[in-house]
């Protein structure tokens, strides 16, 4: 179970991140188009319209590349007595939680996550700013394995 190097998340996490971002861009594009077709007050020129769509396209490209970079930064590590998690590009964060301070653990699966058969592991301590660990993109089996590993450790103490 323990492993002294950081591991990246399951590749399906990248897929679900991409789906979310592309969904966002699609909603944006569709809303824009609807506004264009149904409003009559202002006439957009063809140039304005193509600018809008190329902007949306560029945004989609940027989000896809950023998603890849974010995905590569997300790493977790389970050591003998603690669990740690890294993420972020502009603000790079590394959170460390000793098993001895863990209050409870939750596993969540959203509909999209279930489709990609991944899960989110949330770890709570008594720290009061709610900035505890939240690791998304673990295989469900793996998440359950980690949960029972930590629970057993806490029981043995």
């Amino acid at each position: 179970m323990e492993n002294n190097s950081y591991k990246t998340m399951h590749p399906n996490l990248l897929k679900s991140m991409l789906v979310k971002r592309i969904g966002f861009v699609l909603v944006l594009a569709i809303t824009g188009s609807l506004v264009y077709y149904f409003q009559t007050k202002i006439q957009f020129s063809l140039l304005g319209l193509s600018l809008f769509y190329s902007g949306v396209f560029l945004l989609a490209l940027a989000l896809v590349f950023l998603a890849k970079a974010y995905f590569r930064r997300k790493k977790f590590k389970i050591a003998e007595k603690n669990i740690s998690y890294q993420e972020g590009i502009l603000y790079q964060k590394e959170t460390l939680v000793p098993f001895a301070r863990i209050q409870h653990i939750e596993i969540d699966e959203g509909p999209l996550e279930r489709f990609f058969s991944i899960a989110t592991l949330s770890i709570y301590t008594a720290g009061d700013s709610g900035r505890d660990l939240k690791i998304s993109g673990l295989e469900l089996m793996k998440a359950q394995e980690i949960k029972s590993f930590i629970s057993n450790y806490i029981k043995d103490e």
Partner: protein
């Protein structure tokens, strides 16, 4: 006193109805206060009787609610659990394991004192926990309940209570003169900004209300007519500033007197008991092992008067963070040592492992205060100040902000010493934080992209009572501090609460 067994459900004192009613009325006024000016406006006079009957009905309804609240509010002790039932429509049952109860505190505001009842607050700690407040019981019942809840707690932990029972010892009690000293040496600038914020947020609403009153008309006209002369000159601004500071001093005095009047600190069993307050009397028990961290605050004025402040933070459960802060305001030098020894068996030593923030921290603070100075200049530019006034303003502002930044950098340090972490901070005041760092919940190492380039990182220690920040450490030092912390958190088997 031993008549209270708590085996059966007991209710609050019937006087509790008064308290319930008071709270309900207060809530009503609070949520409708915006409409109060309507009562004084002219065009409503013909509908007055209608309005008053609505208000009267509401007030009567609240009385019934208060009685119902009283009837359905019951508590007892069952086995090792404290049980509380309340509510008629929305029934709520709360069960707290007695061993999870952190402290039982008493509170009496002026109404409580008039009708001679006590409010009991039961505090627990942990992730998903509850706070219980019993609004009005007799003092005897309160004492008995407290004894019951805390004794049962202690029997598990220790058997020597009998011996310890009489060890109550007065650490200090604040005299009126000392209270004056404390008020005088407070950070008035903070009160000043507080007043400023309040004035800005209420200013418009106040204007509306004042407009309705005829007597204020002339005043307002005077101010409006002379607006340019009043806001335009630096001298007037200076006068305004002095008046503001004077008001701030008064506010500081009022705040300190209300909160800390007759503060008594007593050493008792394995903790200290703090009682204080002018109208609202509070009694808090601080158990030493449950203290998360302590902050000493002093400034040159306080130092000259030989008096200091110690803020003590206990573990909080989310919502009620502020209440977990107990402030000992009249700590004299030799009590300071005693308190340090009491809480942390700590004595400052020069040869401890010490870290300082990287030079980048100084750079960052300079950039920030440059932004602030620029902002002030922009604001003043739009108020049509003359060139001379700009020069005078910046001659004061620039050296002052540089001096404050240098002071803060000078005073920031992080020292490790026998399981304790001591943090220095402060500008004009000196702030020292003491934490037994095994009580940290989790550690966050954070680097912005700029910090990454400069090879520095910020460490954040999450405790059960707030975040402690070690800003802009060299990366290798940040990692070694992180490792020290983690190792202690894993190896130290003492309870963190």
């Amino acid at each position: 006193m031993n008549n209270f067994s708590f085996q059966e459900f007991s209710r609050q004192s019937p006087k509790g109805i008064i308290i319930n009613y008071g709270v309900l009325l207060y809530k009503m006024v609070k949520s409708f206060w915006v409409f109060i000016p309507i009562l004084f406006s002219k065009n409503i006079e013909n509908k007055m009787s209608y309005l008053f009957s609505v208000i009267g009905g509401l007030v009567l309804l609240l009385l019934i609610v208060a009685v119902v609240q009283f009837i359905y509010f019951k508590f007892k002790i069952e086995g090792d659990q404290f049980i509380l039932n309340k509510g008629m429509v929305f029934k709520k049952k709360t069960a707290i394991p007695i061993e999870r109860i952190q402290s039982v505190n008493f509170k009496q505001n002026i109404v409580h004192q008039l009708i001679n009842v006590t409010q009991v607050e039961i505090q627990t700690a942990g992730a998903k926990d509850v706070e219980v407040s019993i609004k009005a019981v007799s003092r005897e019942l309160a004492e008995a309940l407290k004894k019951k809840l805390q004794n049962e707690n202690e029997i598990e932990e220790e058997v020597e209570i009998e011996v310890k029972e009489d060890s109550a010892r007065l650490i200090y009690s604040l005299s009126l003169l000392e209270l004056f000293k404390v008020s005088f040496s407070e950070n008035h600038l903070r009160s000043f900004f507080w007043i400023l914020a309040i004035t800005f947020s209420f200013g418009y609403q106040l204007e509306d209300i004042v407009n309705d009153w005829n007597f204020a008309d002339e005043m307002i006209q005077f101010v409006v007519l002379n607006k340019e002369e009043i806001t335009g000159s630096l001298l007037a601004l200076f006068v305004l500033f002095v008046v503001g500071i004077l008001i701030s001093v008064v506010v500081s005095f009022v705040r300190v007197f209300l909160r800390h009047f007759d503060q008594k600190v007593v050493y008792k069993n394995d903790g200290i008991q703090v009682s204080e307050g002018l109208f609202t009397k509070r009694e808090d028990i601080l158990k030493i092992q449950k203290i998360q961290y302590a902050v000493q605050v002093t400034n040159p004025v306080k130092k000259a008067m030989g008096i200091g402040t110690v803020r003590i933070r206990q573990a909080g459960s989310g919502k009620v963070k502020k209440k977990k802060l107990v402030e000992l305001v009249g700590v004299k030098e030799h009590f300071q040592k005693e308190l340090n020894a009491l809480f942390f068996s700590y004595e400052a030593r020069p040869n401890a492992l010490c870290f300082r923030p990287a030079l980048y921290y100084l750079f960052k603070m300079f950039v920030r205060s440059a932004f602030f100075v620029a902002l002030v200049n922009v604001v003043f530019y739009f108020n049509a100040f003359s060139l001379l006034e700009f020069i005078v303003l910046n001659l004061v502002l620039l050296p002052l902000s540089i001096y404050l930044v240098l002071l803060k950098y000078e005073k920031t340090y992080f020292t490790f010493q026998e399981g304790k972490l001591i943090l220095g901070d402060g500008k004009i005041s000196t702030v020292t934080t003491l934490i037994e760092y095994f009580k940290t919940q989790n550690v966050l190492l954070q680097q912005s992209i700029i910090q990454k380039k400069r090879g520095v990182a910020t460490l954040k220690l999450q405790t059960a009572s707030g975040v402690i920040k070690l800003p802009c450490l060299r990366l290798d030092e940040a990692h070694s501090i992180k490792n020290i912390l983690i190792q202690e958190m894993e190896e130290n088997k003492r309870d963190w609460i």
